[in-house]
Protein backbone atom coordinates (compact mmCIF):
# COMPACT_ATOMS: atom_id res chain seq x y z
CA UNK A 1 0.00 0.00 0.00
CA UNK A 2 1.19 3.49 -0.84
CA UNK A 3 1.68 5.70 2.21
CA UNK A 4 -0.03 9.06 1.78
CA UNK A 5 1.86 12.18 2.70
CA UNK A 6 -1.21 14.39 3.17
CA UNK A 7 -2.55 12.63 6.28
CA UNK A 8 -4.76 14.62 8.61
CA UNK A 9 -6.09 14.14 12.14
CA UNK A 10 -8.65 15.90 14.31
CA UNK A 11 -9.56 16.19 17.99
CA UNK A 12 -12.73 14.61 19.35
CA UNK A 13 -14.18 14.41 22.86
CA UNK A 14 -16.84 11.94 23.93
CA UNK A 15 -18.76 12.51 27.18
CA UNK A 16 -21.26 10.32 28.97
CA UNK A 17 -23.27 10.59 32.19
CA UNK A 18 -24.81 7.77 34.20
CA UNK A 19 -27.21 7.12 37.07
CA UNK A 20 -25.80 3.89 38.30
CA UNK A 21 -27.82 1.45 40.46
CA UNK A 22 -26.06 0.02 43.49
CA UNK A 23 -28.80 -2.63 43.72
CA UNK A 24 -28.37 -5.04 46.59
CA UNK A 25 -25.04 -3.59 47.69
CA UNK A 26 -26.67 -0.20 48.31
CA UNK A 27 -26.33 -0.73 52.06
CA UNK A 28 -22.55 -0.63 51.81
CA UNK A 29 -22.58 2.89 50.36
CA UNK A 30 -25.44 4.12 52.55
CA UNK A 31 -23.67 3.01 55.75
CA UNK A 32 -20.42 4.54 54.55
CA UNK A 33 -22.09 7.85 53.74
CA UNK A 34 -24.55 8.18 56.63
CA UNK A 35 -22.95 6.31 59.52
CA UNK A 36 -19.22 6.02 58.76
CA UNK A 37 -19.56 2.25 59.04
CA UNK A 38 -17.81 -0.22 56.74
CA UNK A 39 -19.91 -3.23 55.85
CA UNK A 40 -18.79 -6.58 54.54
CA UNK A 41 -20.94 -9.32 53.07
CA UNK A 42 -20.64 -12.82 54.46
CA UNK A 43 -21.56 -15.85 52.37
CA UNK A 44 -24.26 -17.86 54.14
CA UNK A 45 -22.66 -21.05 52.87
CA UNK A 46 -18.84 -20.78 52.75
CA UNK A 47 -18.56 -17.96 55.29
CA UNK A 48 -16.14 -15.85 53.23
CA UNK A 49 -16.48 -12.17 54.13
CA UNK A 50 -16.23 -9.94 51.08
CA UNK A 51 -15.20 -6.29 51.35
CA UNK A 52 -15.68 -4.91 48.64
CA UNK A 53 -19.06 -6.57 49.15
CA UNK A 54 -21.28 -8.66 46.92
CA UNK A 55 -24.98 -9.53 47.25
CA UNK A 56 -24.35 -13.14 46.24
CA UNK A 57 -21.20 -15.19 46.76
CA UNK A 58 -19.56 -15.78 43.36
CA UNK A 59 -17.96 -18.95 44.74
CA UNK A 60 -21.13 -20.62 46.05
CA UNK A 61 -23.93 -18.80 44.19
CA UNK A 62 -25.49 -18.28 47.62
CA UNK A 63 -26.86 -15.01 49.10
CA UNK A 64 -24.66 -13.17 51.56
CA UNK A 65 -25.59 -11.38 54.78
CA UNK A 66 -24.30 -8.00 55.96
CA UNK A 67 -21.82 -7.77 58.81
CA UNK A 68 -19.87 -4.74 59.97
CA UNK A 69 -16.11 -5.12 59.44
CA UNK A 70 -13.35 -3.26 61.25
CA UNK A 71 -12.30 0.31 60.51
CA UNK A 72 -8.77 -0.94 60.97
CA UNK A 73 -7.02 -3.52 58.91
CA UNK A 74 -3.74 -4.83 57.57
CA UNK A 75 -1.89 -3.43 54.57
CA UNK A 76 -1.26 -6.45 52.37
CA UNK A 77 0.50 -4.79 49.41
CA UNK A 78 1.12 -1.27 48.13
CA UNK A 79 2.33 0.88 45.25
CA UNK A 80 3.41 4.50 45.07
CA UNK A 81 1.59 6.23 42.23
CA UNK A 82 3.31 8.96 40.26
CA UNK A 83 0.91 9.00 37.31
CA UNK A 84 -2.79 9.07 38.20
CA UNK A 85 -5.80 9.63 35.95
CA UNK A 86 -7.05 13.15 35.31
CA UNK A 87 -9.97 12.95 37.77
CA UNK A 88 -7.72 12.14 40.74
CA UNK A 89 -7.18 15.28 42.82
CA UNK A 90 -4.92 13.65 45.40
CA UNK A 91 -1.40 15.04 45.31
CA UNK A 92 1.30 12.89 43.71
CA UNK A 93 3.11 10.83 44.61
CA UNK A 94 0.48 9.00 46.65
CA UNK A 95 0.21 5.45 47.89
CA UNK A 96 -2.40 2.93 46.89
CA UNK A 97 -2.73 -0.12 49.09
CA UNK A 98 -4.55 -3.41 49.21
CA UNK A 99 -6.08 -3.55 52.68
CA UNK A 100 -7.66 -6.48 54.48
CA UNK A 101 -10.04 -4.98 57.03
CA UNK A 102 -10.39 -6.82 60.32
CA UNK A 103 -13.11 -9.41 59.93
CA UNK A 104 -12.92 -9.44 56.11
CA UNK A 105 -11.25 -12.07 53.94
CA UNK A 106 -10.65 -10.06 50.77
CA UNK A 107 -8.50 -7.02 50.01
CA UNK A 108 -9.91 -3.52 49.52
CA UNK A 109 -8.02 -1.09 47.30
CA UNK A 110 -7.56 2.35 48.88
CA UNK A 111 -5.18 5.23 49.52
CA UNK A 112 -2.67 4.96 52.33
CA UNK A 113 -1.51 8.26 53.76
CA UNK A 114 2.23 7.50 53.69
CA UNK A 115 4.53 7.89 50.70
CA UNK A 116 7.91 7.26 52.32
CA UNK A 117 9.04 3.92 50.91
CA UNK A 118 11.16 3.23 53.97
CA UNK A 119 8.08 3.50 56.19
CA UNK A 120 5.88 1.26 54.08
CA UNK A 121 5.86 -2.50 54.45
CA UNK A 122 3.48 -5.40 54.06
CA UNK A 123 1.60 -6.06 57.29
CA UNK A 124 1.34 -2.44 58.50
CA UNK A 125 -1.78 -1.70 60.53
CA UNK A 126 -3.95 1.00 58.97
CA UNK A 127 -7.17 2.78 59.95
CA UNK A 128 -9.90 4.40 57.87
CA UNK A 129 -10.18 8.19 57.87
CA UNK A 130 -13.56 9.38 56.58
CA UNK A 131 -14.11 12.34 54.31
CA UNK A 132 -16.04 15.23 55.90
CA UNK A 133 -18.33 15.46 52.90
CA UNK A 134 -19.59 12.01 51.90
CA UNK A 135 -21.56 11.26 48.74
CA UNK A 136 -21.95 7.50 48.52
CA UNK A 137 -18.69 6.50 46.84
CA UNK A 138 -15.79 4.36 48.04
CA UNK A 139 -13.88 7.65 48.33
CA UNK A 140 -16.18 8.56 51.26
CA UNK A 141 -13.25 6.98 53.05
CA UNK A 142 -10.64 9.68 52.36
CA UNK A 143 -7.71 7.35 52.93
CA UNK A 144 -6.24 4.95 55.46
CA UNK A 145 -3.67 6.23 57.91
CA UNK A 146 -0.89 4.16 59.39
CA UNK A 147 -1.69 3.21 62.98
CA UNK A 148 1.23 4.01 65.25
CA UNK A 149 1.55 2.25 68.59
CA UNK A 150 0.78 5.56 70.37
CA UNK A 151 -2.46 6.01 68.46
CA UNK A 152 -3.32 2.41 69.07
CA UNK A 153 -3.06 2.93 72.83
CA UNK A 154 -5.30 5.96 72.69
Amino acid sequence: MEIQSDVFKAYYKMEAEYNYSYGRISKFFRELMENRRIMGSKCRKCGVVFCPPTSDCPKCWTPTEWIEVGQEGTLLHYTIIHMPALWVEREIPHTLGLIRLDGADTGLMHYVDETDKTKLRNGLRVKAVFAEERKGYITDIEHFEVVTSMRKAR
Partner: protein, 398 residues
Protein backbone atom coordinates in the same frame (compact mmCIF):
# COMPACT_ATOMS: atom_id res chain seq x y z
CA UNK B 1 -11.83 -33.04 17.52
CA UNK B 2 -10.18 -32.43 14.15
CA UNK B 3 -6.60 -31.18 13.80
CA UNK B 4 -6.23 -27.45 13.20
CA UNK B 5 -3.28 -25.64 11.60
CA UNK B 6 -2.12 -22.05 11.28
CA UNK B 7 -1.77 -21.43 7.53
CA UNK B 8 -1.56 -17.64 7.33
CA UNK B 9 -0.02 -14.80 9.34
CA UNK B 10 0.16 -11.02 8.95
CA UNK B 11 3.31 -8.89 8.89
CA UNK B 12 4.36 -7.67 12.30
CA UNK B 13 5.48 -4.12 11.59
CA UNK B 14 5.05 -2.11 14.77
CA UNK B 15 4.84 1.66 15.10
CA UNK B 16 4.09 4.15 17.84
CA UNK B 17 1.79 6.15 15.62
CA UNK B 18 0.25 5.43 12.24
CA UNK B 19 -1.31 8.65 11.03
CA UNK B 20 -1.44 7.14 7.57
CA UNK B 21 -4.13 4.64 8.58
CA UNK B 22 -7.42 4.47 10.47
CA UNK B 23 -8.21 1.77 13.04
CA UNK B 24 -10.22 -0.06 10.38
CA UNK B 25 -7.50 0.29 7.76
CA UNK B 26 -5.01 -1.39 10.11
CA UNK B 27 -7.44 -4.28 10.61
CA UNK B 28 -8.00 -4.57 6.87
CA UNK B 29 -4.26 -4.54 6.13
CA UNK B 30 -3.48 -7.26 8.70
CA UNK B 31 -6.40 -9.43 7.54
CA UNK B 32 -5.34 -9.11 3.89
CA UNK B 33 -1.73 -10.01 4.70
CA UNK B 34 -2.75 -13.13 6.62
CA UNK B 35 -5.23 -14.28 3.97
CA UNK B 36 -2.65 -13.75 1.21
CA UNK B 37 0.00 -15.55 3.26
CA UNK B 38 -2.42 -18.51 3.35
CA UNK B 39 -2.76 -18.26 -0.46
CA UNK B 40 -6.49 -17.66 -0.08
CA UNK B 41 -8.97 -14.92 -0.91
CA UNK B 42 -11.60 -13.51 1.44
CA UNK B 43 -14.31 -15.42 -0.44
CA UNK B 44 -12.72 -18.71 0.71
CA UNK B 45 -13.32 -17.89 4.38
CA UNK B 46 -16.73 -17.75 6.04
CA UNK B 47 -16.01 -17.05 9.71
CA UNK B 48 -14.14 -14.04 11.10
CA UNK B 49 -13.23 -13.47 14.75
CA UNK B 50 -12.29 -9.92 15.73
CA UNK B 51 -10.75 -8.76 18.99
CA UNK B 52 -9.87 -5.39 20.43
CA UNK B 53 -8.75 -4.48 23.91
CA UNK B 54 -11.41 -1.99 24.87
CA UNK B 55 -14.05 -0.23 22.81
CA UNK B 56 -13.16 2.96 24.69
CA UNK B 57 -9.86 3.12 22.84
CA UNK B 58 -11.60 4.04 19.63
CA UNK B 59 -14.03 6.81 18.83
CA UNK B 60 -16.32 4.30 17.08
CA UNK B 61 -18.36 2.00 19.36
CA UNK B 62 -19.79 -1.28 18.01
CA UNK B 63 -16.52 -1.74 16.20
CA UNK B 64 -17.26 -5.27 15.03
CA UNK B 65 -19.91 -3.86 12.70
CA UNK B 66 -17.42 -1.51 11.10
CA UNK B 67 -14.70 -4.15 10.95
CA UNK B 68 -17.18 -6.34 9.04
CA UNK B 69 -17.80 -3.35 6.78
CA UNK B 70 -14.08 -2.71 6.21
CA UNK B 71 -13.50 -6.37 5.38
CA UNK B 72 -16.61 -6.63 3.21
CA UNK B 73 -17.93 -9.36 5.53
CA UNK B 74 -21.50 -9.36 4.21
CA UNK B 75 -23.87 -12.32 4.73
CA UNK B 76 -21.12 -14.04 6.77
CA UNK B 77 -20.52 -14.17 10.53
CA UNK B 78 -18.05 -11.94 12.37
CA UNK B 79 -17.74 -12.20 16.15
CA UNK B 80 -16.27 -9.48 18.36
CA UNK B 81 -14.30 -10.03 21.58
CA UNK B 82 -13.16 -7.39 24.06
CA UNK B 83 -11.41 -7.91 27.38
CA UNK B 84 -8.16 -5.94 27.18
CA UNK B 85 -5.10 -8.08 26.54
CA UNK B 86 -7.24 -11.19 26.98
CA UNK B 87 -9.48 -10.42 24.00
CA UNK B 88 -7.31 -12.00 21.33
CA UNK B 89 -6.88 -15.20 23.32
CA UNK B 90 -10.65 -15.53 23.57
CA UNK B 91 -11.03 -14.90 19.82
CA UNK B 92 -8.33 -17.45 18.96
CA UNK B 93 -9.76 -20.01 21.32
CA UNK B 94 -13.25 -19.69 19.83
CA UNK B 95 -11.90 -19.67 16.28
CA UNK B 96 -9.89 -22.82 16.97
CA UNK B 97 -13.03 -24.60 18.13
CA UNK B 98 -15.00 -23.61 15.03
CA UNK B 99 -12.46 -25.53 12.95
CA UNK B 100 -11.72 -28.34 15.41
CA UNK B 101 -15.43 -29.12 15.71
CA UNK B 102 -15.87 -29.35 11.95
CA UNK B 103 -18.23 -26.36 11.81
CA UNK B 104 -16.01 -24.82 9.13
CA UNK B 105 -12.61 -25.46 7.56
CA UNK B 106 -11.14 -21.94 7.40
CA UNK B 107 -11.30 -19.02 9.86
CA UNK B 108 -9.77 -15.55 9.95
CA UNK B 109 -8.83 -14.08 13.32
CA UNK B 110 -7.90 -10.40 13.36
CA UNK B 111 -7.40 -7.89 16.13
CA UNK B 112 -5.42 -5.02 17.53
CA UNK B 113 -5.61 -1.42 18.58
CA UNK B 114 -4.70 2.03 17.38
CA UNK B 115 -3.71 3.50 20.70
CA UNK B 116 -2.48 6.79 19.25
CA UNK B 117 -6.11 7.68 18.46
CA UNK B 118 -6.88 7.42 22.17
CA UNK B 119 -4.00 9.34 23.68
CA UNK B 120 -5.30 12.89 23.41
CA UNK B 121 -4.05 15.20 24.72
CA UNK B 122 -1.08 12.95 25.43
CA UNK B 123 -0.35 9.47 26.74
CA UNK B 124 -2.24 10.33 29.93
CA UNK B 125 -5.48 10.31 27.94
CA UNK B 126 -4.91 6.68 27.06
CA UNK B 127 -4.06 5.83 30.67
CA UNK B 128 -7.41 7.32 31.70
CA UNK B 129 -9.23 5.05 29.28
CA UNK B 130 -7.39 2.00 30.61
CA UNK B 131 -8.59 2.85 34.12
CA UNK B 132 -12.22 2.60 33.01
CA UNK B 133 -11.62 -1.11 32.47
CA UNK B 134 -11.07 -1.62 36.21
CA UNK B 135 -13.93 -2.26 38.62
CA UNK B 136 -16.10 0.84 38.24
CA UNK B 137 -17.24 1.09 41.87
CA UNK B 138 -14.20 0.05 43.85
CA UNK B 139 -11.14 0.70 41.67
CA UNK B 140 -11.87 3.34 39.02
CA UNK B 141 -12.22 6.17 41.61
CA UNK B 142 -8.52 5.71 42.44
CA UNK B 143 -7.73 6.35 38.82
CA UNK B 144 -4.79 4.15 38.09
CA UNK B 145 -4.61 1.53 35.38
CA UNK B 146 -1.06 0.81 36.39
CA UNK B 147 -1.93 0.61 40.07
CA UNK B 148 -3.43 -2.85 40.00
CA UNK B 149 -0.44 -4.22 38.11
CA UNK B 150 1.91 -2.38 40.45
CA UNK B 151 0.22 -3.97 43.48
CA UNK B 152 0.70 -7.36 41.88
CA UNK B 153 4.37 -6.61 41.10
CA UNK B 154 4.98 -5.46 44.68
CA UNK B 155 3.25 -8.59 45.98
CA UNK B 156 5.34 -10.83 43.71
CA UNK B 157 8.57 -9.06 44.72
CA UNK B 158 7.90 -9.05 48.43
CA UNK B 159 6.55 -12.59 48.71
CA UNK B 160 9.27 -14.25 46.62
CA UNK B 161 12.24 -11.89 47.00
CA UNK B 162 12.29 -10.99 43.31
CA UNK B 163 14.38 -7.83 42.83
CA UNK B 164 13.93 -4.72 40.71
CA UNK B 165 17.27 -5.64 39.06
CA UNK B 166 15.95 -9.05 37.99
CA UNK B 167 12.85 -7.44 36.51
CA UNK B 168 15.04 -4.87 34.73
CA UNK B 169 16.86 -7.72 32.98
CA UNK B 170 13.63 -8.54 31.10
CA UNK B 171 13.61 -5.02 29.65
CA UNK B 172 17.30 -5.28 28.73
CA UNK B 173 16.67 -8.66 27.04
CA UNK B 174 13.53 -7.66 25.13
CA UNK B 175 14.79 -4.27 23.93
CA UNK B 176 18.03 -6.07 22.98
CA UNK B 177 16.19 -8.82 21.07
CA UNK B 178 14.38 -6.08 19.16
CA UNK B 179 17.75 -5.00 17.71
CA UNK B 180 17.63 -8.21 15.66
CA UNK B 181 14.08 -7.61 14.45
CA UNK B 182 13.55 -5.16 11.54
CA UNK B 183 9.83 -4.88 12.41
CA UNK B 184 10.50 -3.77 15.99
CA UNK B 185 9.39 -0.43 17.37
CA UNK B 186 11.93 -0.06 20.17
CA UNK B 187 15.26 -1.73 19.36
CA UNK B 188 17.90 -0.51 21.79
CA UNK B 189 20.81 -1.56 23.88
CA UNK B 190 20.11 -0.56 27.46
CA UNK B 191 21.52 -1.54 30.85
CA UNK B 192 19.90 -2.65 34.09
CA UNK B 193 20.86 0.78 35.50
CA UNK B 194 19.00 2.54 32.68
CA UNK B 195 15.84 0.69 33.67
CA UNK B 196 16.31 1.34 37.39
CA UNK B 197 16.94 5.05 36.71
CA UNK B 198 13.97 5.52 34.38
CA UNK B 199 10.99 7.56 35.56
CA UNK B 200 8.90 5.96 38.29
CA UNK B 201 5.26 5.63 37.18
CA UNK B 202 3.78 3.43 39.90
CA UNK B 203 6.55 2.07 42.10
CA UNK B 204 7.92 -0.53 41.61
CA UNK B 205 6.98 0.01 37.93
CA UNK B 206 9.26 2.39 36.08
CA UNK B 207 9.04 3.64 32.50
CA UNK B 208 11.43 1.04 31.07
CA UNK B 209 9.62 -1.77 32.89
CA UNK B 210 6.58 -1.07 30.71
CA UNK B 211 5.52 -2.47 27.38
CA UNK B 212 5.21 -0.20 24.38
CA UNK B 213 2.24 1.78 23.18
CA UNK B 214 1.63 0.89 19.55
CA UNK B 215 -0.66 1.21 16.56
CA UNK B 216 -0.73 -2.36 15.34
CA UNK B 217 -3.09 -5.12 14.26
CA UNK B 218 -2.30 -8.77 13.67
CA UNK B 219 -4.14 -11.61 11.96
CA UNK B 220 -3.92 -15.37 11.50
CA UNK B 221 -5.80 -17.91 9.39
CA UNK B 222 -6.63 -21.37 10.75
CA UNK B 223 -7.41 -24.35 8.52
CA UNK B 224 -8.68 -27.88 8.94
CA UNK B 225 -6.14 -30.67 8.33
CA UNK B 226 -7.38 -31.33 4.81
CA UNK B 227 -7.29 -27.68 3.74
CA UNK B 228 -3.99 -27.04 5.52
CA UNK B 229 -2.27 -29.80 3.58
CA UNK B 230 -3.62 -28.43 0.29
CA UNK B 231 -2.49 -24.91 1.10
CA UNK B 232 1.01 -25.30 2.48
CA UNK B 233 3.91 -27.67 2.84
CA UNK B 234 4.63 -26.22 6.27
CA UNK B 235 1.38 -25.85 8.19
CA UNK B 236 1.94 -25.23 11.88
CA UNK B 237 -0.32 -27.43 14.00
CA UNK B 238 -2.18 -26.34 17.09
CA UNK B 239 -1.53 -29.10 19.61
CA UNK B 240 -2.89 -27.60 22.78
CA UNK B 241 -5.32 -24.87 23.86
CA UNK B 242 -6.19 -23.65 27.34
CA UNK B 243 -8.23 -20.66 28.40
CA UNK B 244 -9.23 -19.30 31.80
CA UNK B 245 -10.87 -16.33 33.47
CA UNK B 246 -10.67 -15.04 37.02
CA UNK B 247 -12.44 -12.33 39.01
CA UNK B 248 -11.68 -8.77 37.93
CA UNK B 249 -11.39 -7.30 41.43
CA UNK B 250 -7.77 -7.78 42.43
CA UNK B 251 -8.65 -7.92 46.13
CA UNK B 252 -10.92 -10.93 45.61
CA UNK B 253 -8.40 -13.13 43.86
CA UNK B 254 -6.98 -14.88 46.88
CA UNK B 255 -10.34 -16.10 48.20
CA UNK B 256 -11.41 -17.19 44.73
CA UNK B 257 -8.22 -19.23 44.27
CA UNK B 258 -7.52 -21.01 47.56
CA UNK B 259 -3.86 -21.78 48.10
CA UNK B 260 -2.68 -18.96 45.83
CA UNK B 261 -1.41 -15.53 46.97
CA UNK B 262 -1.63 -11.99 45.56
CA UNK B 263 1.83 -12.39 44.02
CA UNK B 264 0.63 -15.08 41.64
CA UNK B 265 -1.59 -15.27 38.55
CA UNK B 266 -3.64 -18.44 38.91
CA UNK B 267 -5.43 -17.69 35.65
CA UNK B 268 -2.26 -18.39 33.64
CA UNK B 269 -1.59 -21.58 35.52
CA UNK B 270 -5.10 -22.82 34.75
CA UNK B 271 -4.76 -21.99 31.04
CA UNK B 272 -1.34 -23.66 30.83
CA UNK B 273 -2.55 -26.78 32.62
CA UNK B 274 -5.23 -27.45 30.01
CA UNK B 275 -2.96 -26.65 27.05
CA UNK B 276 -0.14 -28.84 28.41
CA UNK B 277 -2.45 -31.76 29.09
CA UNK B 278 -3.87 -31.58 25.57
CA UNK B 279 -0.41 -31.33 23.96
CA UNK B 280 1.31 -33.84 26.23
CA UNK B 281 3.72 -31.28 27.72
CA UNK B 282 5.11 -32.50 31.04
CA UNK B 283 8.49 -30.70 31.10
CA UNK B 284 7.81 -27.28 29.53
CA UNK B 285 11.34 -25.87 29.93
CA UNK B 286 12.81 -28.68 27.87
CA UNK B 287 9.91 -29.64 25.60
CA UNK B 288 9.11 -26.10 24.40
CA UNK B 289 11.68 -24.55 22.05
CA UNK B 290 10.41 -20.96 21.87
CA UNK B 291 7.76 -18.92 23.68
CA UNK B 292 5.93 -15.64 23.16
CA UNK B 293 4.39 -14.46 26.41
CA UNK B 294 2.65 -11.28 27.54
CA UNK B 295 5.40 -9.02 28.84
CA UNK B 296 3.14 -6.08 29.67
CA UNK B 297 5.52 -5.30 32.51
CA UNK B 298 8.93 -6.79 33.24
CA UNK B 299 7.73 -8.54 36.40
CA UNK B 300 4.93 -10.09 34.46
CA UNK B 301 7.34 -11.98 32.21
CA UNK B 302 9.14 -13.40 35.27
CA UNK B 303 5.85 -14.35 36.90
CA UNK B 304 4.73 -15.95 33.64
CA UNK B 305 7.82 -18.21 33.68
CA UNK B 306 6.54 -19.52 37.00
CA UNK B 307 2.85 -19.77 36.16
CA UNK B 308 3.69 -21.66 32.95
CA UNK B 309 6.03 -23.95 34.97
CA UNK B 310 9.20 -23.00 33.07
CA UNK B 311 10.62 -22.94 36.62
CA UNK B 312 9.38 -23.46 40.15
CA UNK B 313 7.43 -21.01 42.30
CA UNK B 314 9.57 -17.97 43.15
CA UNK B 315 12.30 -18.94 40.67
CA UNK B 316 11.43 -16.50 37.85
CA UNK B 317 14.27 -14.17 38.85
CA UNK B 318 16.74 -17.02 38.93
CA UNK B 319 15.69 -18.15 35.45
CA UNK B 320 16.49 -14.73 33.93
CA UNK B 321 19.72 -14.50 35.95
CA UNK B 322 20.81 -17.78 34.34
CA UNK B 323 20.04 -16.46 30.85
CA UNK B 324 17.73 -19.41 30.16
CA UNK B 325 15.21 -17.25 28.30
CA UNK B 326 17.64 -15.37 26.06
CA UNK B 327 18.03 -16.30 22.40
CA UNK B 328 20.46 -19.22 22.67
CA UNK B 329 19.17 -20.16 26.13
CA UNK B 330 17.25 -23.31 27.07
CA UNK B 331 13.89 -21.69 26.27
CA UNK B 332 14.07 -18.35 24.43
CA UNK B 333 11.17 -16.09 25.46
CA UNK B 334 10.05 -13.19 23.25
CA UNK B 335 13.03 -13.52 20.87
CA UNK B 336 11.63 -10.78 18.60
CA UNK B 337 11.35 -8.34 21.51
CA UNK B 338 7.80 -8.97 22.73
CA UNK B 339 5.54 -6.15 23.91
CA UNK B 340 8.51 -4.36 25.48
CA UNK B 341 10.81 -4.25 22.46
CA UNK B 342 8.87 -5.26 19.36
CA UNK B 343 5.35 -3.82 19.65
CA UNK B 344 2.21 -4.09 21.73
CA UNK B 345 -0.76 -5.19 19.63
CA UNK B 346 -2.91 -5.06 22.78
CA UNK B 347 -6.30 -6.32 21.55
CA UNK B 348 -4.52 -8.38 18.90
CA UNK B 349 -1.62 -9.61 20.99
CA UNK B 350 -2.56 -13.28 20.69
CA UNK B 351 -2.47 -13.19 16.89
CA UNK B 352 0.70 -11.12 17.05
CA UNK B 353 2.40 -13.63 19.36
CA UNK B 354 1.06 -16.61 17.44
CA UNK B 355 2.37 -15.17 14.17
CA UNK B 356 5.78 -14.68 15.80
CA UNK B 357 5.88 -18.30 16.96
CA UNK B 358 4.73 -19.48 13.52
CA UNK B 359 7.62 -17.51 11.97
CA UNK B 360 10.02 -19.25 14.34
CA UNK B 361 8.58 -22.70 13.59
CA UNK B 362 8.68 -22.03 9.83
CA UNK B 363 12.30 -20.90 10.19
CA UNK B 364 11.46 -17.44 8.84
CA UNK B 365 12.48 -15.28 11.80
CA UNK B 366 15.72 -14.04 10.21
CA UNK B 367 18.08 -12.30 12.63
CA UNK B 368 16.25 -13.53 15.71
CA UNK B 369 15.65 -17.09 14.49
CA UNK B 370 16.06 -19.55 17.35
CA UNK B 371 18.54 -22.32 16.52
CA UNK B 372 18.39 -25.24 16.11
CA UNK B 373 15.10 -24.82 14.24
CA UNK B 374 12.38 -25.08 16.88
CA UNK B 375 9.73 -27.79 16.63
CA UNK B 376 7.44 -26.78 19.51
CA UNK B 377 6.34 -23.27 20.47
CA UNK B 378 4.15 -21.67 23.10
CA UNK B 379 1.89 -18.62 22.87
CA UNK B 380 0.50 -17.04 26.02
CA UNK B 381 -1.88 -14.10 26.25
CA UNK B 382 -2.95 -12.36 29.40
CA UNK B 383 -5.24 -9.45 30.08
CA UNK B 384 -8.49 -8.30 31.50
CA UNK B 385 -8.51 -6.03 34.50
CA UNK B 386 -5.11 -6.59 36.12
CA UNK B 387 -4.58 -10.11 34.79
CA UNK B 388 -7.81 -12.05 34.87
CA UNK B 389 -7.99 -13.61 31.40
CA UNK B 390 -5.33 -15.89 29.95
CA UNK B 391 -4.96 -18.22 26.99
CA UNK B 392 -2.15 -20.65 26.21
CA UNK B 393 -1.52 -22.34 22.86
CA UNK B 394 1.03 -25.02 22.01
CA UNK B 395 2.12 -25.05 18.36
CA UNK B 396 4.11 -27.69 16.52
CA UNK B 397 5.90 -27.96 13.19
CA UNK B 398 5.43 -30.97 10.92
Amino acid sequence: MNRVAVVGISDMRAARRRDDATFFQLAYDAAKEAVEDARLTKEDIKYCFFSTANENFNRQPLMGIYIAEALGWSQKPLFEFTNAGGASGSALSAAYNYVASGQTDLVLVVGGDKISDADAPDLNGFQNLIVYGNDCLFEVPFGTGLGQFALLCQAYMSIYGITEEQAAKVSVKNHGNALLNPNAQSPKKISVEDVLNSKVLAWPIKFLDCSLVSDIFAAVVFASEERAKELREDPIWIKGVGHANDVGKFGWREVMNPGMNFGQAPVMRAAAKDAYRMAGITDPLNQICVAQVQDGFTWLELLTYEMLSFCGEGEGGKLIDEGATEIGGTLPVNPGGGCIGHGHAYGGIGMFDMAEVVKQLRGEAGGYQVEPAPTTGLVETMGGSGMCVSTVFILERG
